[in-house]
């Protein structure tokens, strides 16, 4: 187990390096130069070219790409992720300020999504082919195919504008902090993000419970007269959760993507909007910082998923 973890972490570091190289080169292939973009066409005047050249030299962007990469890597190892080309602020600061709100929103919504999905999926599986199953199918697939952006605007329209129940955006009312205020701001983005995610989770729970219900041991247990509820709770759910764990772990990038949209709609001060702005502005250091954060999340969640396998199903061993 210990050796496994060490090896896994080492491999993960290798993956991170690969990803950073990939992003570093890939993004420089995209059209657009971050320094050129600092001066929009309508702001051009005499001296623009000189300003751009000076800026490029100052930021080290006139060096060959591989030199830039090793400079970046050398600094990154010491924890220095560089400075935003756009605002000149440290990338660690930019990400650090925003990681809290994003993880907060994502974490809670993931939890809530599971709280919705597990019982719903289980119900649909046990009642397969009956009304409850169809109802659950329609609801969960509805969640899958409705863009979160849409739900966000719809939510704002209904709950803020029409009913006046919830604030429409932000994390708190400017200038006044209270727990109630903060919670009322959280509620809508949280529920919408959770609902969006719960759709696919419900599908997976349903499908893997159905598969498990057909397993031989369930039939044996039923034949022996063990009550259905007993079998389901004691054996089926546990085994059925294995593929679901994979999916939840795999969904993190998806949840993050959903969070980006929801953050934009609700003016939630997380990483999502920073990510979009840095992609569009070709702010290389911020993009890499964001990509690394993203990769670490993915790798970590995959590792956790693999570890959980062994807990849920002792027959799976890690080698």
């Amino acid at each position: 187990m210990g050796a496994y973890l060490v090896r896994r972490v080492l491999v993960s570091v290798l993956v991170l390096v690969l990803v950073s190289i990939g992003i570093f080169w890939l993004f420089r292939l995209a059209p657009g130069d971050p320094v050129e973009m600092m001066l929009p066409p309508q702001n051009r005047g005499p001296g623009s070219e000189a300003f751009i050249a000076a800026k490029r030299a100052e930021l080290g962007l006139d060096e060959p790409v591989w030199v830039q990469y090793f400079t970046w890597l050398g600094n990154a190892v010491t924890g220095d992720l560089g400075y935003s080309l756009d605002t000149g602020r440290s990338v660690s600061d930019l990400l650090g300020e925003r990681v809290g709100p994003t993880v907060y929103l994502m974490g809670l919504s993931l939890l809530l999504a599971l709280v919705i999905a597990v019982p719903l999926g289980l119900l649909a599986a046990v009642r397969k082919g009956r009304f409850a199953d169809y109802a659950a199918s329609v609801v969960s697939l509805g969640a899958v195919c409705t863009p979160p952006f849409f739900l966000g605007i719809l939510g704002i329209y209904v709950f803020s504008l029409k009913l006046g129940l919830l604030p429409s955006a932000g994390m708190s009312t400017p200038g006044q902090y209270s727990v109630g205020d903060s919670l009322s701001h959280l509620l809508m983005p949280l529920v919408i993000l959770a609902f969006s995610q719960s759709g696919q989770f419900t599908r997976y729970v349903r499908s893997s419970v159905i598969a498990e219900l057909h397993a031989d041991y369930v039939r044996t247990a039923e034949a022996k007269g063990v009550s259905a509820t007993g079998v389901v709770t004691r054996h089926v759910l546990r085994n059925a959760l294995i593929p679901v764990i994979t999916i939840v772990a795999l969904s993190l990038p998806n949840v993050l993507a959903g969070a980006v949209v929801i953050e934009t709609v609700f003016a939630w001060p997380g990483m999502g909007q920073l990510a979009i702005a840095s992609f569009q502005g070709r702010d290389y250091p911020v993009i890499i910082g964001f990509a690394l954060f993203f990769s670490i999340m993915v790798l970590l969640s995959n590792l956790i998923a693999d570890l959980l396998y062994t807990l849920v199903d002792p027959r799976v061993s890690l080698r």
Partner: protein, 276 residues
């Protein structure tokens, strides 16, 4: 046998029928509407549904019904093919990883990690920037970067299957990998794969929508369900012009639901353990 089991599945039949109808409607669009989906009429902007325009007109005065039909061609293409690509690559690699294990497994799974760690949007921005946005590159890019989902699911199921007594027994009796895949792995993972595929179809259609939003998807004036939905993402439209978002929304939902029911039916039909 399998065909008969499938035919017993009423919802699956309904799904097939609806999907066929949707495909037929998009293919035969010119027969169903006399309107040109690209015809701009600035004197008829955002008109509610009427006898002339069955589903009203959009912000450029184009007929929404005509756009809906023609949009289906692109959206179905993107959704179905990107999902197929992802599921095929993912299932094959996932099954191989799960059965062979060892360094093959490690290699495939770390490759999956690398692909998963690349935000799809970033990749699309770069690819579209270099090659120019096109439907083919979009399908390939979406498929290429979403396969790890199917791959991981299939591997997970295969892995737990490998430890099951009956599979180990089969292996002990000298069963070959191919036989194992066909007789045990495939039926066992089909349920999960169908779900992955269903969601991948929806995802494909929606990723196309978000790419449209960034100008990287289907280029205007060509309609897609995704860019019709994207165009409708405004408070004023959502609250006052339902004819602009309900049709594409319903089209996506109906398509995804049908794909799902068909998938369910397929799963039941192919699973030999299914008895009822």
């Amino acid at each position: 046998m399998a065909v008969r089991r499938f035919l017993r599945h009423k919802l699956a039949i309904a799904g097939v029928v609806v999907l066929l109808l949707v495909v037929l409607a998009t293919v035969c669009a010119p027969l169903l509407t006399g309107h040109d989906p690209l015809k701009v009429d600035l004197s008829q902007v955002r008109q509610p549904p009427s006898g002339e325009h069955l589903l009203g007109t959009d912000g450029s005065g184009r007929d929404v019904f005509a756009r809906l039909l023609y949009a289906g061609r692109v959206s179905l293409l993107v959704g179905v093919f990107s999902a197929l690509l992802a599921v095929v690559i993912g299932s094959v690699l996932g099954a191989v990883a799960g059965i062979l294990g060892g360094w093959v497994d490690a290699l495939i799974m770390r490759a999956a990690d690398v692909f998963l760690s690349f935000p799809v949007l970033v990749v699309m921005i770069v690819i579209a920037g270099i090659l120019g946005p096109s439907i083919t590159t979009m399908v390939i890019a979406i498929g290429l970067f979403t396969w790890p989902r199917a791959g991981r699911v299939v591997r997970g199921v295969t892995l737990s299957l490998r430890e099951r007594e009956y599979v180990q027994a089969a292996q002990a009796f000298g069963a070959r990998t191919g036989w194992l895949v066909v007789h045990h792995v495939l039926p066992a993972v089909l349920g999960s794969v169908v779900v992955v595929a269903t969601i991948a179809v929806a995802d494909g259609i929606l990723i196309e929508a978000s790419l449209s939003f960034l100008g990287l998807g289907v280029q205007p004036p060509q309609p897609s369900w995704g860019n019709m939905l994207t165009d409708a993402q405004r408070l004023t439209v959502i609250s006052q012009m339902p004819w602009l978002w309900i049709p594409p929304g319903v089209a996506v939902a109906v398509t995804v639901l049908s794909v799902n029911f068909v998938g369910d039916g397929l799963r039941d039909a192919l699973d030999p353990r299914e008895s009822s």
